[in-house]
Symmetry: C2
Subunit: 372 residues, 2 copies
Amino acid sequence: MNIALLGFGVVGRGVYDLTLDRSDINVKYVVCLEDVQLPGVTVTRNYNEILADESVDTVVEAMGGLHPAWDFVKAAIEAGKNVVTSNKAMACTFYDELLPLVQEKNVLFRCTAAVGGGIGWLSELGRVRRCETVLSVGGIMNGTCNYILDNMTRLGLDYDVALKQAQNLGYAEANPSTDVDGIDTWHKVILSSNVAFGVSLDKQSVPVSGISKIKACDVAAFKAHGYTCKLISTGKRTDSGFSAYVQPTLCPADALEAHIPMNFNLITFEGAAAGRQSLYGQGAGRYPTAYNVVQDLCDLLLGNGFYAPCEGSVAARNNEQLRFYVRGASDAWLESVTAEIWDEGIVTAPVAVDEMHAWLKNHPDAFMAAIR
Amino acid sequence: MNIALLGFGVVGRGVYDLTLDRSDINVKYVVCLEDVQLPGVTVTRNYNEILADESVDTVVEAMGGLHPAWDFVKAAIEAGKNVVTSNKAMACTFYDELLPLVQEKNVLFRCTAAVGGGIGWLSELGRVRRCETVLSVGGIMNGTCNYILDNMTRLGLDYDVALKQAQNLGYAEANPSTDVDGIDTWHKVILSSNVAFGVSLDKQSVPVSGISKIKACDVAAFKAHGYTCKLISTGKRTDSGFSAYVQPTLCPADALEAHIPMNFNLITFEGAAAGRQSLYGQGAGRYPTAYNVVQDLCDLLLGNGFYAPCEGSVAARNNEQLRFYVRGASDAWLESVTAEIWDEGIVTAPVAVDEMHAWLKNHPDAFMAAIR
């Protein structure tokens, strides 16, 4: 297998390192803007050279972002090349174009490293689907948020301090919005739901709220009531179709989620026969992520492509009634559903998830967390 | 695929139920002593009939125990049939005969349900091995022990009471020895190590101690020192080869193992690139276990056989120095290594695992737990 590696940053360099000693995977090209010298590898900025080289059967996209990543991936597929990527934003955003194109051009596409880094989540989900009805997927899918929330809970830090620490240690980016606003988790749970249920979820129907408004006083109130706050994603079958959302969630002490430390992930599925199962590990990092890219390349060598067919688009409907903690804003509606006072916040009576998220959109300074 | 199902108990019945609607897997025979009627299935006690039927390509062994399970499996392989089993005792005990025979007869053999019930542990381990050096395997592999220890820890119960509860709820058998003495876990960690490292571990070199001597006073002492006791298995690469053992282990509150509830399992591997990852779920039960048998049948349909080649036999050497809690016996050696007193027990200075287990063999009434 001759591959072209697009991007030579954290993941790309890792893939290069992990394939160096393999006889079955040969890095023929690296496309990057940096001036690197790699023995036996053509380092180029001219992507057309790669598209024209018929000996390159597989493109590994490790650039991140939507453009030019998607343009390059699309061109590769149109040129009949297989693609492996760790890019959840791209795979999720262009899902409806990507999957039909892969099928039309009869190429192989995998993106296991896109959810959970080195955790074999999507590949296991593909295995589960072979003989099982998946009832739900979800969990803790973002190490940055978990690191911040874990430090706030263990050390009583305020959000800004915990974020700064995470940034200093490289667990959070200078602009942390994609992580702390839940967008990264949102991409991951949509991708996971699509694979688990064989559909393409309408992204706009999947509400997301993040952790950037949480304060030390919230965490103290949660502790006093026996809860730990985590950013939890949910995708599940319902009586009327599918439900999916991302929100801070208060987990009781007997939930495994409450005990996930540092930047670790815990991703769970429930199957009709297999029951509830979880995968636990660090969801990011050069070598774990590159490891799953190499695993995907091994699967390509065996002829294994995408995890699940897509049987059509559906909108999520989130009618599930949950109790929510809310602090930082109020109005007549919130007062009308208030059931308890927790220190500076309130706890609602059961409210539909979609209704709560719609309210939050109009009160962007408020912090909200569902209660399990 | 036409299969013969050996045994129609918990697992066998589950496999029958889960394959009922499948067009690719047809149960042609059921071998059992009970008088059951199954439409379209030949129920027989005459195993030779199955061996002689060339349309039967696969035998599913779901009888449990060593004999006649192994004799039936051996005869099936010799007759050129593929085999799937959930029988860890058999797969582990006859590993050295089984694998060469499978290779010689060019058939497929899988046993994913043998470790972790419905958890895709062995199949994931097989995937990991494709592009990764596995450094260690292990964890909580026995739901019965975890149920008993969890109830002792949460409720302060004594061992006999917790065992009785587990028996009443069907989590422990009338004769619980295989579970509580660690034999079940021992089979599972040997099998896991064999797959992870591509070897056949000399079983006698893998020491095991169980939980049947634990008392409420031990658990109270562990709690007072911030520890939770779990039955933990370990298999790992060392500088000089491999190490493997099963022993009660005191886990600190920040270890995920300390928070595994009820009859759940948490099975962990560490890979050179992939890092530390765990799989969590209920390690037993009719449908989870049967589900993984059906997964193995799907793999057979794809031509996927055993998870790893075996490159030869090795003895485990357990020179690792650990601190141990010991209660219930003493002698001059134990006094010479005693570093602390914990209530009715003592805590040793670091002692080699093999040395501690050798001592315990001569003091069968003592309870011992390693400290992490």
